[in-house]
Amino acid sequence: MRSSRFRRRTFLQGLGLGAGFLPLLDPQVAPAAPAGFPKRLITITWTNGTIPAQFYPAAGPLNTLSPLLAPLEPFKSKVLAMRQSNSAKSPIDVKVMLDKDQDYGGHWAYPALLTGTFTGNSSKPSSEAASIDQLIANDLMAKGVAAPLLNLGARPYSSSTTWKSAGTKNTAQTDPYKVFNSLFSGVPTTPGMPPTTDPGTPGVDALKARRQSVLDFVGAELDEFANGFGSEDRALVQSHIEAIAQLESRLAAMPGSGGSSGGGGGVPVGTSCAAPTLPGTKPNFNDVKNYPAHVSAMMAIAGAAAKCDFARCITLDLIDDGGGNSLTFPWLNISSPDYHAIAHEGQNGYEQKAPIDLWFMEQVAALVADLDSAPEGDGTVLDNTVILVCNDMNEGSNHYVGEVPYLIIGSAGGFFKQGETVALSQKVPNNHLLTTVCHAMDLEIASIGAYSGDLDSVLRA
């Protein structure tokens, strides 16, 4: 039994639906980066902390990975870990929360992880500023990149790492099939093959023209509609206006019957670009048994979006903070208790938590492998990418938001040190790390949030 409420289009049906589902391709039109290739930021976040003693490698060259980083063994020359110099702990505090007496606010740390700001409390955690993916995307858009931001999630629940602005979350897309239809329709699954949807199909130009007319109309409606509102309401309308502008830039970049009609040249789609392969029948992602398929699909989408240069700032919120939706891991033979309860058990739960944490790192490794197998310039797509792995707390039983684990993979075009564990003699606010990530992405910014400073001197190659 399945009510139509739960009806889902399958991927193949989606492709066959005709003109309305033509791809909204986003060939980027950015000026070439200095190295000639685009840089990408991918953040991957999950919850419930780590097992510190098993996470932080010894300082110095990464010859031997720590147990929980084991899945990254093939890529350890491209990993940059951070630790305190005198103990196997993270040197990074979510200091903005500590300063607000939210020391054990791990349930609500997501808004601070990529913003370095925090407001509210357990009832309504929020950020006071945009997150770095948004800031970098804004910078790229100002430089002419059409749609650099892609926010993905598997079970983000009610929280978010990515924030458009103070108090406003970005919506993580959790349906890989929808993202596929939006980004990859017509893109072949094998690199170098011609598009499966012929851009010359009659109707493409008509669809583009029709969409343009409607977007023009909606934009004009919004302009009039915005008049008179107070500032909070007007911000809603303003967000809608900006979204329409985004759709218009995408539309301008959509290939017409005469081939690419993008904003005049630009970086060609990467040689490794191929549409990700999703299961032919859409799994029910509500079912925890399908969580691995869900995460795999999202990793594949993220990897393909990076390789095709359909996005430059990608966030992946793999699971909520707060444990509210009771993820269990039957594929690891862990069906009870749920992840959150296991985390709360602290050391008593490590026997179950270690394989779970390893499993999450294996998912990261799959994306790393995908990007590292894609040649680009003298290296790989991974080399032009920085993957920032985040967690919202130190350890599950304490929910402490000091000493939270972050991990860097990929050098962002040679910016970061690689194959090394950097030891810091004192703890630093996560703001410093975020500022350095912005620098790696060519956003020259002095500070993120209230704590100015960066980690360039220790993390930069």
Binding site: S3, S4, E224, A243, N325, D338
Partner: protein, 627 residues
């Protein structure tokens, strides 16, 4: 406007689908062209793929079925209702947002005050209902339209929270609009007020259509600017896009469905704002008030009669509002409200994604989870639209609807297949919302019951209380083992000083549910030990009120002033679609008093809400510019 202009012929053959309730084959006049069943209404449709009967409170299904057997002889909640309404600031859930006033000239709890009405967009349910009402197209699935956040962590407003439209949402609106335009292309005559006999009549017909349809879609007369842009778009359709008459009409529909006047519920008055000298709040004019009424009671746009009431000024008086509110509340389209309220209050959207231990619960699957969710919706519609629609019925009624998998879980015989049937829940084991498997599974853990989560729900959602943040270093609860009940494990945990703060509250209530396991199956023993569900809770923080089990807890809550006040507060939040503010307090006090005076009658509560000052007036936004 032409009364026929927005009328459409139903586009989808319903075949053998029984549509016994909300949005049945409604009269196809004016702005309302509804054909959708409970599904488009956002009500979980427990039917099998649309071919089975929809059990949600059919007019004959509920009142004519098992009745509300449990109400006779049980305490009337009004009897215990002499206590005052707890103040919002007393730790009872008074989340304050916005300023709630215009420059502080009004005392916060003044009877002249009113809360704000922030701009918001339609929820996915409202969106789909609106499309169905306008063009009789019910093809949009829930995930075809932008969705809102159901933020279970924000107890100040436990219902669907709308956010901002970003690129993801705007693209969804675009694709939804295009999809509807394609769907109605062949049957567009149904929404046309005229059939042009020749080309020379097309422009005039288009003009008539645009004016009337825009009024239905925007729920107010379109402005001159809106009309001219729609006229221009129609002309562009004919010329630039070389569309025929009907094709250009479809283009106009596609665009209107993406326009802000359709997608947002606009609090502003089309004309000059009428500021009440008493309190400096704005008296809402007919059009925004009509939308507020219909989206509260129907989750759908105003029908012709309601728009006419806005046209002729009758909504300016309490009597006019009252008449329309009662008309809407007694229409079958209101049943979806009851389902939506309960589904949201219980966070039922989370249930299907909760992991359950297959070893402990081999019969639990998504089909059962879906059935549990559907039962909550059906139960609520049945209880709130049955013979005794009171808080007591809501919390104690044994009348529900189950299909075979649920009947097996409940130990009920005689229900076969995936279709739902009206049943009386097993006496002594179940009665009321809090004994439904959907609630119990959603608040159970992966492998067992979870007293604090169940207690927290009652504490935050039915008593409107807020918990302090958990302390650092909470010790974990002991492992389960034979001979040691869940209750015993949590009692040991609760004795730990650093866990006492919250758990003494949560478990005190939560132990009442110990007769139900992690998926809501009834049990008399656990781990070989008899279940003890007797507990007590001091609602007034002084006198502990005992209850033997969850059924008795339901009766206790229905008579408990704190729970009565909270229930009224939750409905106020639902009706206003926001957290309550200080500007609502005077209205809320009056609403709660009347709720008690009316014996806990929920329809009376809706009527009082709809005519309250905070519903008919609004505080201006801090820097709003009046027209």
């Amino acid at each position: 406007m032409s009364q026929e202009i927005c009328a459409a012929t139903p586009l989808r053959r319903l075949g053998s689908i029984a549509v016994p309730l909300a949005f049945g084959l409604a009269a196809l006049t004016g702005c309302t062209t509804t054909i959708s069943g409970g599904d488009a209404d956002g009500t979980p449709n427990p039917g099998s793929g649309g071919s089975g009967p929809v059990p949600v409170a059919g007019s004959g299904g509920v009142s004519g079925s098992a009745g509300i057997a449990g109400t006779a002889g049980q305490p009337n909640p009004a009897a215990g209702g002499s206590g005052g309404v707890p103040p919002a600031s007393g730790g009872t859930g008074g989340v304050v947002m916005g300023t709630g006033g215009s420059g502080g000239s009004v005392p916060v709890a003044s009877p002249d005050a009113a809360g704000p009405m922030p701009l918001r967009h339609l929820t996915s349910r409202e969106h789909r209902n609106s499309v169905a009402a306008l063009v009789a197209d019910t093809s949009l699935a829930e995930d075809d339209v932008p969705t809102e956040t159901s933020d279970a962590t924000f107890d100040g407003f436990p219902f669907r929270q709308t956010g901002m439209v970003g690129t993801v949402e705007a693209e969804a609106l675009q694709l939804a609009g295009e999809s509807v335009a394609r769907n109605i292309a062949g049957t567009i005559d149904a929404i046309l007020p005229c059939q042009p006999a020749n080309a020379s009549e097309e422009a005039g017909c288009a003009r008539s259509f645009i004016e009337a349809f825009a009024k239905c879609a925007y729920r107010r007369p379109p402005t001159a600017g809106q009309l001219s842009r729609l006229d221009a778009l129609y002309a562009e359709g004919r010329s630039v896009h070389a569309l025929d008459f009907r094709g250009a009409i479809a283009l106009v529909v596609e665009a209107i469905l993406q326009s802000p006047a359709f997608y947002y519920i606009d609090p502003r008055d089309p004309g000059p704002a009428e500021v009440d000298p008493n309190g400096g709040v704005i008296k809402m004019s007919g059009y925004p008030l009509a939308s507020r009424l219909s989206y509260f009671l129907w989750g759908a746009p105003p029908d012709d009669q309601l728009l006419t009431a806005a046209d002729n000024g009758s909504l300016a008086e309490v009597a006019g509002v009252s008449a329309e509110a009662q008309r809407l509340a007694s229409d079958a389209r209101a049943h979806g409200m009851a389902s939506d309220f309960a589904d949201d209050l219980l966070d039922m959207d989370i249930l299907p994604s909760r992991g359950k231990d297959a070893d402990a619960y081999p019969n639990y699957d998504l089909e059962l989870a879906d059935a549990m969710r559907a039962e909550v919706s059906a139960f609520a519609a049945g209880a709130l639209f049955g013979q005794a629609p009171t808080l007591l019925t809501f919390l104690t009624s044994p009348s529900s609807f189950v299909n075979e998998p649920l009947a097996e879980l409940y130990g009920l015989d005689g229900v076969n297949g995936s279709d739902f049937s009206a049943v009386s829940l097993p006496p002594g084991e179940r009665g009321g919302l809090l004994t439904l498997a959907g609630f119990l599974a959603n608040t159970g853990s992966a492998g067992g019951s979870l007293p604090p989560r169940r207690g927290k729900f009652v504490y935050t959602r039915l008593l409107c209380a807020e918990l302090p943040p958990p302390p650092a270093e909470v010790p974990s609860v002991g492992e389960s083992m034979p001979g040691l009940s869940t209750r015993a494990r949590f009692e040991a945990h609760d004795a730990n000083p650093c866990a006492t703060g919250c758990h003494s509250i949560l478990d005190g209530i939560g132990f009442a549910f110990e007769h139900y396991d992690g998926i809501g199956a009834y049990r008399d023993t656990e781990q070989g030990v008899p279940v003890n569900s007797a507990s007590a809770y001091a609602f007034d923080e002084v006198n502990a009120v005992p209850f033997a089990d969850a059924i008795e807890l339901g009766t206790v809550l229905a008579g408990e002033p704190l729970a009565q006040a909270c229930f009224a507060r939750q409905w106020l939040r639902y009706a206003l679609h926001r957290a309550d503010t200080v500007g609502d307090e005077a209205s809320l006090t009056a609403i709660t008093d009347e709720f008690r005076a009316q014996g806990g009658s929920i329809p009376a509560l809706w009527a009082t809400l709809a005519t309250s000052r905070t519903f008919r007036y609004r505080a201006p936004a801090p820097d709003e510019v009046f027209q």
